[in-house]
């Protein structure tokens, strides 16, 4: 009976509470200028990725045989056709970077989703069930964390075969322990709070207790971690591409572009500089956002 009367009230406060929470969050978040700039840049990158075919001046794979290694437009010998110059087989660098944004964002989204979902599941189970299951899960996570993440990802890709899909799976696997640890720690902290006991006494079933009662209260550190691992995923995927173990040429993935451009570093600086700048700015924007998220979501941490 208590459940029947309690339900609508709880749902109501949650709805108004959510809008208020968001307003409070945005007030703190927008206080941080860097975070807002990061967010704006990130939105811009997303738009570029979505509308890549409309924005890009050329097809990313089109080879202009009459314009090999053309410098950017502002340098002597540059052409307006190719704003950021061309690479060694005459492909437009700007168009490749624009299309490359699709791969990087895709990698970030897929890796974070995979790692977040599996990490939350395992963390909830470990924290909620406890006992030997907890020990087993946490030991396995310790094992994954004992390997340097890039090395483990590299080795995993070697087993699975080099491709962007396998790189994403490998990176998600090496990032997942962080989510498991965070979720488990948060669950252990919340599990014995009064509201959880109350829900349990009221007869809430374990699954609902896990996902509906406890999980929403553990989300703050997970969101911050998601921003951090989004940028790490982009960096790691680019590093794997650079080592020849990620996306394969001629894919215009930023790391793969760098690997192809390596032999021209002393002759054509732009083919090396531009994709790297794209990686740096995107990752920087996400990290700026991440710092803002951390400050806004975690009042315990010192605001900077």
């Amino acid at each position: 009976m208590s459940e029947v009367t309690a339900e609508p009230i709880a749902a109501d406060t949650r709805r108004t509470g959510r809008a208020a929470l968001f307003a409070e969050f945005w007030a703190y978040f927008s206080e941080n200028r860097g975070a807002v700039i990061g967010l704006a840049f990130f939105v811009l990158v997303c738009l570029v990725a979505i509308f890549a075919p409309l924005i890009a001046p050329h097809d990313p794979d089109n080879q202009f045989r009459d314009a090999l290694l053309k410098p950017p437009v502002w340098q002597m010998g540059g052409e307006w056709r190719f704003l950021l110059g061309t690479d060694d087989i005459g492909r437009d660098v700007l168009s490749r970077i624009i299309f490359g944004s699709r791969y990087s964002l895709f990698v970030g989204v897929v890796v974070v989703s995979l790692a977040l979902v599996s990490g939350i599941l395992l963390g909830l189970i470990a924290g909620f069930v406890g006992g030997w299951i907890d020990t087993l899960i946490m030991r396995v996570m310790d094992i994954i964390l004992a390997f340097p993440s890039l090395l483990l990802a590299l080795a995993l890709v070697a087993i699975l075969g080099p491709s962007l899909t396998n790189a994403m799976i490998a990176i998600a696997l090496v990032q997942q322990p962080h989510y498991v640890r965070l979720t488990r720690a948060a669950v252990l902290g919340e599990k014995n709070r009064d509201y959880v006991t109350a829900a349990r006494v009221a007869g809430v079933r374990p699954l609902r207790l896990m996902f509906v009662t406890i999980l929403p209260n553990c989300l703050a550190p997970l969101i911050v971690q998601a921003a951090l691992s989004f940028s790490n995923a982009i960096l790691d995927a680019a590093a794997l591409g650079f080592l020849g173990m990620g996306a394969q040429p001629p894919t215009p993935e930023w790391g793969t572009m760098l690997a192809e451009a390596r032999e021209f570093i002393l002759r054509a600086w732009w083919v090396v500089t531009m994709p790297g700048l794209a990686i740096l700015f995107t990752v920087l924007a996400i990290n700026l956002m991440g710092d803002g998220l951390r400050d806004a979501l975690d009042p315990k941490l010192k605001r900077s």
């Binding site: 094992i143 390997f147 340097p148 020849g244 570093i265 090396v272 700026l288």
Partner: protein, 336 residues
């Protein structure tokens, strides 16, 4: 304290066995027959194949093979590299000093710049100095270091011709290997210019590998410092009329350093990951480049052994950090 150490080591053993099992399973997940891989292009007759399968123990059950592997591990035997035909352990130990030398230089670079930068930013919180220092730290933290290395090569080797592009020392110099550390060996050799050559080869890789730890240490030092500067004892020290330098440099820093030391310890994993990229860019003959090359050559015993040894190293350093932390902070060692 003794109990604390025992518990920590006790927790490490199952993890290590798990790591060994992971590295061991890894090689068996790879497609292809290990004996055919060993035989290379020449191929083997069926009889010879069976003989080799028996010789390497591949015909035994999985768990027995794993026990053999563990047994070998306890005796420092991790198998033989397919490519060089040398034991994996001795291969690793030959290359490891190069990686260690580079890592030590990188972490010193990161500490020497990062801690003062963090302290400085904390004491001038909110000023333009603080903002620009922390902005640079965030850029460093976001840096794709393989690209950063290429940029530095373009600038310092390509345009300015100040530093060499790759390797550990100029080919002009040849001297016996004593310690494996090029800086020390070149000094010991007494050859003119050898030490300078070793230093100039080391500068760019050190900067590249040290960039991310530098950013992390600077950020961590700043936030730890801010926390400490708000404490009562710091106010007391100020009220007593101690000079700001003494308050910040001695009273506050000492306590702020505790979390920073943990951060520095945790950078070892970052360094080993970074070494893979840095060594590849600069053709630095260390463990990271060896691992990448082994993966590309499908030299599975080398990959398996290298993974295991690197993981062991990271675990031991983390253990050392844990123990150090327990030593300086009694609260930690008495929980649980």
């Amino acid at each position: 304290m003794f109990r604390f150490i025992l518990v920590k080591i006790g927790l490490l053993i199952p993890t290590f066995i798990g790591v060994a099992l992971a590295a061991f399973t890894f090689i068996r997940l790879l497609p292809g027959d290990p004996v055919l891989l060993l035989a290379g292009e020449h191929g083997v007759t069926p009889e010879r194949h069976a003989e080799l399968m028996h010789q390497y123990g591949f015909d035994q059950p999985f768990w027995l093979q794993f026990l053999h592997f563990l047994w070998g591990l306890l005796h420092g035997d991790l198998g033989v590299s397919i490519v060089s035909r040398r034991p994996v352990v001795s291969e690793f130990l030959t290359l490891f000093p190069a990686t260690l030398e580079l890592s030590i230089c990188a972490i010193i670079f990161a500490i020497v710049l990062g801690i003062p930068a963090g302290m400085f930013a904390a004491t001038r919180r909110g000023s333009w100095i603080d903002q620009s220092l922390m902005g640079s730290a965030l850029v460093g933290f976001s840096m794709p270091i393989f690209w950063w290395g290429l940029l530095l090569i373009i600038l310092f080797s390509g345009v300015l011709h100040w530093t060499p592009v790759s390797g550990r020392i100029s080919l002009m110099y040849f001297f016996p290997r004593v310690t494996g550390f090029m800086l020390i060996d070149s000094l010991l050799s007494g050859q003119k210019g050898a030490f300078q050559s070793a230093v100039s080869h080391l500068i760019l890789p050190t900067i590249v590998l040290g960039t991310i730890p530098l950013a992390v240490i600077a950020r961590q030092t700043r936030s730890a410092m801010l926390e400490v500067l708000g404490e009562d004892y710091v106010r007391t020290a100020r009220a007593k009329g101690l000079s700001p330098l003494r308050v910040v440099g001695i009273h506050a820093l000492r306590n702020a350093l505790i979390p920073v030391i943990t951060t520095i310890g945790l950078q070892v994993g970052v360094l080993m990951g970074g070494a893979i990229l840095t060594e590849t860019i600069f053709s630095w003959p260390g463990v990271g480049k060896w691992m990448v090359d082994s993966i590309f050559r499908r030299d599975y015993p080398a990959v398996q052994g290298g993974l295991l040894l690197i993981a062991l190293l990271v675990m031991l350093v983390n253990l050392a950090v844990d123990l150090l932390y327990g030593l300086v902070n009694p609260k930690i060692r008495h929980t649980r």
